[in-house]
Subunit: 473 residues, 2 copies
């Protein structure tokens, strides 16, 4: 085979790295299910016209052609029949809700863990293919505010459960569109979207340049620009942040009904988060989220100490997730960038797996003629939930132990009387009974054992995902 | 949104169906890990040139283009840079092995569960997007025969574990390329691939037409054609099938070294399978597998009673899974067609889930002001691993019970003293203590309970996947 090389932007992990990723996915799924979210998957493709409704990412869509069509001149299928790979899980979920509205119960809580694709040039940690893990709650007609509190708290719980594997803490930054819009309108700025777009650039270009852009692009005067920047500078994790925003708005005579409504929501979120996930959720008034479909809470999440990685979990409230003309479906959701997160955990040397295989026990083979004895031992162990494999060949026991050692398999089982002559066996080991003996190849300890009763220590049963001493990939 | 309609060939399930699919995937993963297979994922795309190496499926490849390229005249990227979606998991696995050979330990046992795509016209149950679950063992340089025995027995175990949810039994049909080739050459036929291709059509067009094709297309005379058909007619699940083949070969003076070697392998498989998975594995000499890269055992799997569905799990031994010029990597593997299987389980009304959500308990809300009390009860239950959600609104209890009922949630929790007035509460229910009371909405039984100690019956903790009374989707 020619030209075997990684494709830039399409990450893949070695088996040990995949164990880390799988653990992250398992923790997310488990947490989502504990909160009553039902799992769904949608097809990987959507009609191009659906994907292009979100203008700003349209250029990143991968379009599919069947190979035989490429041989024909011109584009044989009309654009409305063309299919593209989804670039997020929100567009397909909105379509799924409309398609199945009659068969779903609302409010509908769903999680969805799938790959998405973006055809952008790979750069600074951006992937062309990556896994997202989304939760959303969608209502029919209306959706109570308390779900905007619940969604980030579910994620806080999931991230909390990942702390023990060595993942750094997260900070979930929250804001509310009503606060921003209410404030901007209160000080006399009408181009709310324009202002949000500029405020979104604060981390990249700083307040001075954003201030100039607000004047140049959004029709703000110097004082209005200053007020916007002052609002964006406010952050905090308790109710005092609400007081601060209200004081700022009062000082500009900018207290609108919308602002007041937004502040009440933001306060409810900050207070509930302070009780249920202390220290995780921070109100940060500069969080804008570029996309114009958010209408209430907006969220971004940074890994503490890895802020330059960007947000690892973003989302918000949208009053119109989907609409079929008759019915409107408001939603609120958050999306974890699993690949971005796992990539950092692995390449940053933060997290590793204790071995590269699920196997806890390698059953040795003393001669090919007795392989079925080894198979029988393995079958008994497996029936009791102990992952094991049988040695590939009846090589010298030293070589079989090496096979286990290379993979991090902690135990080698010597069936029947094989234990007697085990190469490298502990000198004081008892002669093995008919059921055989099992050696912990890390300590060298070897004991007689019966596959129907022997158990490995619980921490050795499966590979564990733990803080890493050094980078793995 | 316009034109919301399912795309033919791209299956999606409602949440209840997805629970069935997820269960099937969990059972497969669990079984594979018990046998020491390490999970990997590969990217969804491969360079087109890699995908086109398997000539016969080349026309089914979906080719990707970035949307902005489509606006430019002509095809901007040369073909060797073009990417296509993988149509199976074998091609990407072979590439992964070559790319990472230095970092893997051989023999390398891996499982891989991912979507694949084929751009063919959807018809008779064929999908354009579907999930495969593959296991393969790949060696470096050589790979012992016993893995050809192990692979179908792992699958037999996985399918066996699915019997309890209502999946019909499977029959794994096995053959050996060496037997077929040795026999054909022994009777004087040289076009082995051609003969295999015709034999592969037996189920579709019957022995008469296949016999004619052997004569017309493969240079066989009448007697040779009859001998091929006689071989293909042999099947059985014990060693007598070996005797039968040998007798047929002897009667044609067709006992070659290759045939003898193949029969020894086939016998080892049939005997081991008879011991370890009685009644599941059947030697069937007509199994040909159209693809020319198989070199030893070949496998197909039918659902008993659903044979017309085609094979739900196929594969075999290939002496050259991958090669980089210096090293050759032989492999043996099997691939489960998960979507085909699950589609039949659901649409055939064979299997269902006991509810559509993971939730075991709905915590009621008596007034929005006391929602935090309900949240607190839910948090205590979740900390103990009990999936629960809090009611969407402080509606009348009857309406909250209906919310649970519609989703199949078995229990409703009334926090604090709320239990007193529970609409529809059992007349004899004790007044609730401060911790509240919990109602089994199926029986109407309501008892005082403390979220720190109450447990639902184990069978209600999560949705179970069970034999269905009627079709679900």
């Amino acid at each position: 085979m020619a030209r075997i090389a990684p494709l830039s932007g399409f990450p893949e992990w070695l088996p040990q790295g995949r164990i880390v990723e799988q653990h992250v996915l398992d923790v997310l799924r488990h947490t989502f299910e504990l909160h009553g979210f039902a799992g769904i998957e949608t097809r990987a493709v959507e009609p191009l016209e659906q994907l292009l409704r979100k203008g700003e990412t349209s250029k990143e869509v991968y379009v599919l052609s069947r190979l035989q069509e490429l041989d024909e001149p011109g584009r044989p299928e009309r654009e409305d029949k063309q299919l593209g790979l989804h670039f997020d899980l929100t567009v397909p979920f909105a379509r799924y809700v409309l398609e199945n509205a009659g068969k779903l119960s609302f409010p509908f809580k769903r999680y969805q863990i799938q790959k998405v694709w973006r055809g952008e040039r790979p750069q600074d940690g951006r992937f062309r293919e990556f896994t997202q893990a989304d939760i959303d709650v969608v209502g029919s007609g209306d959706l109570p505010y308390h779900y905007e509190v619940e969604i980030p708290l579910v994620m806080a719980e999931a991230f909390g459960a990942l702390r023990e594997i060595g993942m750094p803490p997260v900070r979930i930054l929250v804001n509310n569109r009503k606060v921003a819009e209410g404030f901007y309108r209160g000080i006399g700025l009408e181009d709310v979207e324009g202002v949000l777009r500029q405020i979104d650039k604060l981390d990249k270009i700083g307040p001075e340049k954003v201030g100039a852009l607000l004047v140049d692009e959004c029709g703000a005067d110097e004082e209005q620009a200053k007020a916007c920047l002052a609002l964006a500078a406010i952050s905090g994790s308790d109710a005092s942040v609400i007081t601060e925003v209200r004081a700022l708005a009062e000082s500009h005579g900018a207290v609108t009904e919308l602002l007041t409504a937004g502040l009440a929501e933001l306060e409810a979120l900050v207070v509930a988060a302070g009780e249920r996930a202390p220290g995780v959720v921070v109100a940060d008034l500069k969080i804008a989220r570029g996309l114009d479909y958010y209408t209430g809470s907006v969220y971004e999440t940074v890994l503490v100490g890895h802020e330059q990685l960007g947000s690892v979990c973003s989302g918000g409230r949208y009053d119109t997730l989907a609409s079929d003309g008759k019915n409107t479906y408001p939603g609120v959701g958050l999306s974890v960038g699993v690949s971005r997160l796992v990539s950092r955990l692995l390449s940053g040397g933060l997290v590793t797996a204790t071995r590269a295989v699920p196997t806890a026990v390698l059953v040795a083979v003393s001669a090919e003629e007795t392989r079925r004895d080894s198979d029988a031992v393995a079958a008994v162990l497996r029936a009791r939930g102990i992952p094991c494999e049988v040695a590939p060949a009846a090589a010298k026991f030293g070589k079989q132990i090496k096979y286990a050692d290379r993979r991090g398999i902690p135990f080698v089982w010597f069936p029947g009387e094989a234990g007697h002559g085990a190469d490298g066996g502990a000198p004081g080991a008892e002669p093995a009974g008919p059921a055989g003996s099992v050696k912990d190849i890390r300590s060298g300890d070897q004991v007689d054992a019966d596959p129907a009763t022997w158990e490995p220590p619980a921490e050795d049963l499966r590979p564990r995902v733990v803080p890493a001493a050094s980078p793995v990939r």
